[in-house]
C-alpha cells in the first residue's frame, strides 16, 4: 500500500499542496498531469528526494515521511533511466542488495532471477554504453526492484521509447506487478498509457490532486 495524506512539498519556488491518495497493495496506480503540474515533485517527495513540508506518506510497514530515501522501501525509476556508466548491468542489479547488506549468494540469486524476468541475461556483463532504450529501461527497472522494495515509483518510464518498446515494457511491468505483488506508482502525461496500465488513476493539476478514477 502507498498512502499519501495531506502532503505538501516544495521544489524551489514550486509547491504541491494537500495531496491525498491511496494505492492498495499490489495495485497499479497511474498519476497523470501535464508538464509542470507537479508530478515529478510529488514522486520525489514520496521517494524522500524533496523535503515534505506537511502531511504523511505511509507504506504497509508504517510511516516513512521522515525516513531517508534508502530506508523507505521504495524503488525509483527516474525519467530517462539514468544508468551508472561505470557499472556493468550485473552491478546495477546487485547495487541495492549489496548496500543493504544481503549475503553474496542471495545477491547472485536475485540478479539471475531479475535478469531472467527482464530478459537481460545476455547483457549482464555489458556496461550501459550502447544499450538500446528498451534494454536500458529494463536495467533501470531491475536496479530499482533488486532489493525487493514495497513500492515502485516510475517517472515517465516510456519517455523516449518507440511504440513497440513501450508496449513491451508495459507488459513487463504488468507481469512484475503480478509476479512480485508490488505496488506501483507510475507518472505520465499520456492518457492512453494510463488507461492501458492503471488499476487506479489520479490527475494532478497545478500542484493539487484533481481527480481519482478506477
Amino acid at each position: 500500500m502507498l498512502e499519501v495524506r495531506d502532503l505538501s512539498a516544495r521544489a524551489g519556488s514550486f509547491e504541491i499542496t494537500d495531496i491525498s491518495f491511496e494505492i492498495p497493495t499490489g495495485m497499479y496506480g497511474v498519476l497523470m498531469g501535464k508538464t509542470g503540474s507537479g508530478k515529478t515533485t510529488l514522486m520525489e517527495a514520496i521517494c524522500g528526494l524533496k523535503t515534505v513540508t506537511a502531511g504523511t506518506i505511509r507504506l504497509d510497514n508504517g510511516d516513512v515521511t521522515r525516513l531517508r530515501p534508502g530506508e523507505r522501501g521504495i524503488g525509483f525509476v527516474p525519467q530517462d533511466r539514468v544508468l551508472f556508466y561505470n557499472m556493468t548491468v550485473r552491478r546495477h542489479l546487485a547495487f541495492g542488495p549489496t548496500l543493504q547488506g544481503w549475503p553474496k549468494e542471495a545477491i547472485e540469486e536475485r540478479v539471475e532471477e531479475l535478469a531472467t524476468a527482464l530478459q537481460i541475461t545476455p547483457l549482464l556483463d555489458r556496461k550501459p554504453h550502447g544499450l538500446s532504450g528498451g534494454e536500458g529501461q529494463r536495467v533501470s527497472l531491475g536496479r530499482a526492484l533488486a532489493a525487493r522494495p514495497e513500492v515502485l515509483c516510475l517517472d515517465e518510464p516510456f519517455s523516449a521509447l518507440d511504440e513497440d518498446t513501450q508496449s513491451e515494457i508495459g507488459k513487463v511491468l504488468k507481469q512484475l506487478q503480478a509476479s512480485q505483488g508490488i505496488t506501483i506508482l507510475h507518472i505520465t502525461h499520456n492518457r492512453s498509457e494510463a488507461e492501458r496500465l492503471a488499476d487506479i488513476r489520479f490527475q494532478i493539476r497545478e500542484g493539487t490532486l484533481d481527480s481519482v478514477a478506477k
Binding site: P78, R81, F84, N86, R143
Partner: protein, 300 residues
Amino acid sequence: MDAPSERRRIASDKPFFYGLVAIAAAYLLLIIALLLADVHYVSLSEIGKALQDEDIQSSVTLTLITCTVTALLSVLVAVPTGYLLSRFRFPGKRLVDALLDIPILLPPLVIGLSLLILFHQVNLFGRTIEEWFAWAFQWITAIRPDIRPGVTFKVPAVILAQFTVSCAFAVRTMKTTFDQINPRHEHVALTLGCNRSQAFWLVLLPQAWRGILTGGTLAWARALGEFGPILVFAGATRGRTEVLSTTVFLEINIGNLQGAVAVSLLMIMLALAVILLVRTVGERTVLGTETHHHSGGSHA
C-alpha cells in the same frame, strides 16, 4: 499566395566553414611559428648542453616534483569544492564562487606579494605564520640538521605559489564536470540505500574521472608555467628554489639567450609529453564510463 516559380537557392555553407578554419588556423599558425622560431634560434648542441647542466637538471627534477605535488593537491581540494558548488545551495554561494576566481583574475605577481605579506606580516598569537610553520616542523632539524624548516624562499613556497593559482583552475574544471553529470544519478543511489557519501564515492566520482584527469592536467600545466608568484614568494635561488620557469628568467638575466630558449623548448616538450601521456592513459582508463553525453534527463 502563389509559390515562387523558381526554386530558392540557399547560399553555400563553404564561406562559413572557410571562415571557421581560417580563424582557427591563424591562431594555430601563431603557436607553430613561435615553436619554429625557438627551434630555429637554438642549436641541437645547445639543447644537449642544457640537458647536461647540473643546475638545469636539478631544476627539471624540482619542476617535475613541485608540479606533480601541486596537481595532486589541487585535485584533492578541487573535487570537494567543485562538488559543493555544483550540488548545494548555501548562503553567500555567489560570493564564494567569485572569491574562488580571484587567483585566476589577479596578476601573478600580486599573488606572490600577497603570500609574502600573509606569511611575514600577519601576526597570530605572537608569531608570524612563517614562524609558526618553522616551529611546527622544527623536529625535522633534529633528524636532518642541514634542513631549516620554513616556507618562504624554500621548496614549500614554490608549491604553495603554484597551488594558489593552479587550484582555482582545477576547481572551475571540477564544478563544470559535476554540473554536467545529472544529479539524478545520486538521487537514484540514495533511493537504493546509499548515504550522500556513498553516492559520491560509488556513483558520482567514478563517472567524473575524465574531469578529474582534465583538472589535474590543467593544474599541472598551469604550475609548470607559473613564474611571478614563485619569483616573489620562493625566490630564484640556483639549485634550491629554481624551477624551469625561473631558469629561463635566470638564463636571460645572465645574457644566455640560447640557454633560455633551450630550456623553454625543454618545457614545451615536457608539457606536451605529460599532457599526451595523461590523456592517452585517461582515455583508456575511462573508456565507456563518461555519462553526461548519454545520460540525458533533466536536472532536478
